[in-house]
Symmetry: C2
Subunit: 299 residues, 2 copies
């Protein structure tokens, strides 16, 4: 079993959905991803954390066994405020305070530079690239992003895509980067840039995996109530990479299983606000849901 290193942001979030709202809760791409990963593998987190970032949030990460030596505690914490309409498909941003994100340098702790499994969660692609360049013997690097970087730093983003093993995008992002409504076409264009695998997250519709040789389709979990989709994609990616680190390989069969584990974790994430559900989530609960996924795709 190898360790998984997650790079991204931590945040203090205000979230509103049709099912309620929460203030000043723990958030950020790296937070969700690291918690997702920690279910499967020892995990390290690299992110800015802000001097005003509540200690209890760092304690929560530690309780999950996450190594927090890569948290850069300086400046003011990044803050995000957003809401979801009834269809819950897209987070609408009301306000962001970048704060210490603008000075974060993504310097890896020395001991992380020899690690092999990385998840570059959503953050400035320039920083993602900076991380890649610090790695001495990476075996598997996966990356995620968001619409903001596609709109404003597409060239940097393409450069990151060329330097990773796996790209994880949601459907809207995939369409946007490759300028086509057809997800299969988008995935094939993406593969042409170099990565061995492309995953397209489709929320309630599950996730798709494309490689040069094959296609895999994972079902969505039939949740009757989705309270808050914040962090679903991040916890999906983190769980997937954590699972691969735990297998110490990125074979096709492992990636397929990892996608289903990621889908299981993401479905739990959506069941409550912020990281609430993830806080108490156990490996056993994830395994149980994994088996439900098996049954619901059997024919």
């Amino acid at each position: 079993m190898k360790r998984a290193i997650v790079v991204g942001v931590t945040a203090i979030d205000n979230i509103e959905t049709p099912f309620g709202n929460v203030q000043n809760v723990l958030g950020g791409s790296a937070t969700y991803a690291a918690i997702g990963s920690s279910i499967f593998a020892r995990t390290g987190i690299v992110a800015p954390a802000g001097e005003d970032f509540p200690d209890e949030y760092i304690e929560l990460l530690k309780e999950k066994g996450i190594d927090v030596s890569g948290l850069e505690r300086s400046g003011k914490a990044f803050r995000w405020e957003g809401f979801y309409d009834f269809d819950m498909n897209e987070a609408k941003t009301l306000r962001t305070e970048l704060n210490n994100l603008t000075t974060f340098e993504a310097k890896l702790p020395e001991q992380y530079k020899d690690e092999e499994y990385f998840f570059l969660a959503n953050i400035d692609p320039k920083l993602q690239l900076k991380v890649v360049k610090q790695l001495r013997k990476p075996r598997f690097i996966a990356m995620d992003t968001m619409n903001f970087w596609i709109e404003h730093q597409k060239e940097d983003l393409i450069e990151v895509i060329k330097n990773v093993n796996m790209v994880v995008l949601n459907d809207a992002e995939a369409r946007m980067v490759f300028d086509t409504v057809n997800l299969t076409k988008a995935a094939k264009e993406c593969l042409r840039l170099g990565p061995q695998a492309v995953i397209i997250k489709k929320g309630e519709h599950g996730a798709l995996l494309y490689t040069e040789e094959m296609h895999f389709s994972a079902p969505g979990y039939p949740l009757e109530v989705i309270k808050d989709p914040t962090g679903c994609g991040d916890s999906f990616g983190g769980a997937l990479v954590g699972y691969l680190a735990s297998c110490d390989n990125a074979h096709e069969a492992s990636i397929r299983k990892g996608i289903v584990y990621g889908s299981a974790v993401a479905s739990f994430t959506a069941e409550d606000f912020g990281t609430t559900r993830l806080k108490t989530l156990t490996k056993e609960e994830v395994e149980k849901r994994y088996h439900e996924f098996r049954e619901m795709r059997e024919f």
Copy 2:
């Protein structure tokens, strides 16, 4: 092996998509459904056909082995003109000429009243109900519909739902009938009305099956080019019911397999305009795609 009877409409269509357009082509819910069904089982079609309905279209149905004794040849043929935008998700109607649809009475040929497997393709729910009442020993009745009936004849539609074994809706229709964005919730509401199974078609995202006891999720087929989605849902439903008739049961395992066969047939339908691809489609091609579906959901 039992016979499958499909009830619906035939039509003469003008279709435009981002990939081209066709004029005066064979169309209609019953047409697509009957051709889909005929791949698996002997099939009868019940629909209005119009005196001006081209004989060659009827010949085409006959060549597929479809019994056309239930075609009611009177009046002018129903005509539909529509187009699809780049996202290809929804047919936009430009013009309809109801013509003989307004006088069609859906009288079953005497020998069909003792049949056991029926697909009530999209048509006025009053007519669907009329068909149900003519049946002497139905074993399995599936139904489809469209947004027009949900908007204008919801009460009739609910009455049909209460009288069938399986409801087949697309995602937008399911949300519309049961007034929720959540498909799982919509499906459960639908089951409460009486049918044993609900299928929700999600186009490129595959299809979902819900019963009281379980949930099944079939993947979509990763087509790089969708030329024309017209008839996909109809050929899906027809193929599914044809497959069940060929098994002479509607056990859960058969329904799951039937959904994948239906998905395979629908994916071929989208590959060319109108019924073009279906005309030459062989059982072997469908089997091959069925096995691709198996591989792409394996983990």
